[in-house]
């Protein structure tokens, strides 16, 4: 994975009427990477994407493409294509003409255009739909036309702005797999924007977590999930128990009224920290065998597992387990030292 940087953002800031949407972010994207900008709505992820696409001008900072500054290059001169949130298909054209739009502008010869469009239709599984009107297609099919329309231009970078947001769960899951396959097959850099953390973890090589216009963490899905750098990331990615604690020394942390062995180090003596324990990492045992004793206060059946709340050690722990204990039961909670993740206390 040591490919060159294709896009680089350097200290980029964007304001709308004085309100900061993107605050001094720096970021690079490597060739053939599947990178996801993840965050709640209003976190600046779409603004960042639109600046890369050329639809917004950064107020400060530089955007580099292949090492060259492209701040002032209009969208139609960038070797980047976009799949828009609501597809933005041309409703006055059929499927073929929609996909042909970019090629016609580039004056691609007719036979080559035919060949490339045929290949795209095959890739997005829409063979035989050439002359269908786009309004007559389902959401998933329109989505795939939008992807084909962008990919047929063979851009170096494809931007995808919540492309699956309007689809139902089942179709979304299918399209996620399809998009990942496509990305591997065509070898194009994908920059993907979503607020769906599961989608981000499933699809990406790299996840960029954003909040309030600031990058919170950049890392692989596994890093982001297992080693969140702060309370926001831990809270946003998956379910978490976030407990306040004190770091006594390397590998020794105190919370819920007792000390625990852990695998974290490098904090100050008696530093106040936040501790993350994922609900699925906690096991329920007999009360006397537990590290923490508590009482079950709520049980919800979630399909794959039960989600239980256990009050104990001055905190309400969420536990996901297939072993159900009834409300009111006295239980013990256990977890391993590596399940404890210690983070710096954020502001």
């Amino acid at each position: 994975m040591v490919s060159k940087k294709i896009i680089e953002l350097k200290n980029v800031t964007k304001r709308y009427n004085g309100v900061v949407a993107v605050n001094n972010i720096s970021l690079y994207i490597r060739e053939n990477e599947f990178i996801t900008l993840l965050g709640p709505s209003g976190c600046g992820k779409t603004t960042t994407l639109r600046m890369i696409g050329g639809f917004e001008d950064p107020d400060e900072g530089d955007i580099l493409f292949d090492g060259a500054r492209i701040n002032d290059v209009p969208p139609y001169k960038r070797n980047i294509n976009t799949v828009f949130q609501r597809y933005a298909l041309f409703t006055h054209m059929d499927v073929y003409e929609n996909i042909a739009f970019g090629l016609r502008i580039k004056k691609v010869p007719k036979d080559e255009m035919d060949r490339r469009i045929k290949r795209m239709l095959k890739l997005v599984d829409l063979e035989g739909f050439e002359h269908r009107h786009v309004d007559s297609l389902s959401g998933g099919q329109q989505q795939r036309v939008a992807i084909a329309r962008a990919l047929v231009n063979e851009p170096k970078v494809l931007l995808l702005d919540e492309p699956l947001g309007a689809l139902d769960l089942k179709l979304r899951k299918e399209m996620q797999i399809e998009l990942m396959d496509m990305q591997k097959n065509v070898g194009i850099t994908f920059i993907y924007v979503t607020h769906d953390q599961e989608e981000a973890l499933t699809m990406s090589d790299t996840v960029v977590v954003m909040n309030k216009g600031v990058i919170q963490q950049i890392g692989t899905p596994v890093d982001i999930y297992n080693e969140p750098q702060n309370r926001f990331v831990a809270d946003f990615i998956g379910e978490s128990n976030i407990i306040e604690g004190i770091m006594h020394e390397d590998y020794l942390v105190e919370f819920s009224g007792r000390k625990f062995k852990c695998v974290d180090k490098g904090f100050n003596h008696m530093e106040e920290v936040d501790i993350v324990i994922r609900p699925e990492d906690i096991d329920i045992t007999e009360p006397e065998k537990g590290l923490i004793q508590g009482v079950v206060t709520s049980v919800v059946f979630k399909g794959v597992h039960y989600e239980m709340l256990v009050e104990g050690g001055g905190f309400e722990y969420m536990i996901q387990s297939t072993d159900m204990q009834p409300v009111g039961a006295n239980v013990g909670l256990t977890f391993n030292p590596e399940d404890i993740h210690v983070m710096k206390r954020g502001s």
Binding site: P75, T82, F101, I105
Partner: protein, 281 residues
């Protein structure tokens, strides 16, 4: 719609029958008969009124009516489209103010507006007085066809701007960004995306300007100084001066048929573009 709601349409159906269907039938009957209109027993079937229309003199009037209406419609389109484009592109807070500038004339009485144009264009009118004050040669455009066309453009321009503006504002910003994203500069985006998507608006605009323009008699009478006889004036004269209701009716029916044919052609063009939204006449 559940069945009870349909009763609400009855008053309008009655209204339509009394004031639209019955008069139309009467016009049709008068056009196909000869005799004294005040004595129904004297009426007999005759197509003479229709054959009279094919007199060169009358054909010339019909031709002129269509020519002036087409010229006015083309000018309205050429002037109105950019206006609609500008209004749809300004910031939201200026949009309604700008739009109002173009709609205010509709709120004033049609006759009053046309009289105002008389005051501007007449030989001793405002325009010529300004020109002579500046030492420039005066113009004699009124009475004349130029004045009639100017009057038509002024009176009907808002009806071109509004539907085009409406169809422009229906275009999603995303679609324009998609065109840019795929390599289209502003000009190509306009040509290949904006223009085709506003065809329904253009069609409604043309319809709403052409129909009143081709049948007007007030504008041609006031600004044409009685010399520029259009089919509207011809019909009016048959009923008010000549008292030949049969010929007047035949002219009305022919004008109506020609408008219907024009509209059918227009809606065909619209359908070929594969986009609904325009009224189907």
């Amino acid at each position: 719609m559940k069945n009870k709601a349909k009763y609400l349409a009855y008053p309008y159906i009655v209204w339509m029958a009394i004031f639209i269907v019955i008069p139309l039938l009467l016009v049709l009957i008068y056009s196909l008969t000869a005799g004294n209109v005040n004595d129904p027993s004297s009426l007999s079937f005759s197509v003479e009124s229709y054959t009279r229309v094919f007199d060169v003199m009358y054909l010339k009037v019909i031709w002129k009516s269509f020519k002036l209406a087409i010229i006015s419609t083309v000018f309205c389109l050429v002037l109105g489209y950019p206006v609609a484009l500008i209004i749809s592109n300004v910031k939201a807070k200026y949009k309604s103010i700008l739009l109002m500038f173009f709609l205010v004339p509709i709120w004033m009485n049609f006759l009053l507006r046309t009289y105002a144009w008389m005051a501007i264009l007449s030989p001793n009118g405002f325009l010529n007085r300004v020109l002579s004050l500046l030492g420039l040669p005066t113009l004699s455009i009124m009475p004349g066809q130029t004045a009639v066309v100017l009057g038509m453009i002024y009176n009907f321009l808002p009806f071109m701007v509004l539907p085009i503006y409406t169809s422009l504002s229906k275009i999603n910003r995303n679609v324009l960004e998609a065109a840019m994203d795929l390599g289209a500069n502003n000009f190509i985006t306009f040509l290949k995306v904006i223009l085709p998507l506003t065809v329904p608006g253009i069609i409604s605009g043309i319809t709403m300007v052409f129909m009143p323009a081709v049948s007007t008699f007030v504008i041609s009478q006031l600004l044409g100084g009685g010399k520029e006889l259009l089919i509207g004036n011809l019909i009016e004269q048959q009923f008010t001066v000549q008292r030949d209701w049969h010929f007047g009716s035949a002219l009305s029916i022919i004008l109506m048929i020609m408008i219907l044919i024009s509209m059918a052609v227009m809606s065909k063009v619209d359908n070929d573009n594969g986009n609904g939204g325009a009224p189907t006449w």
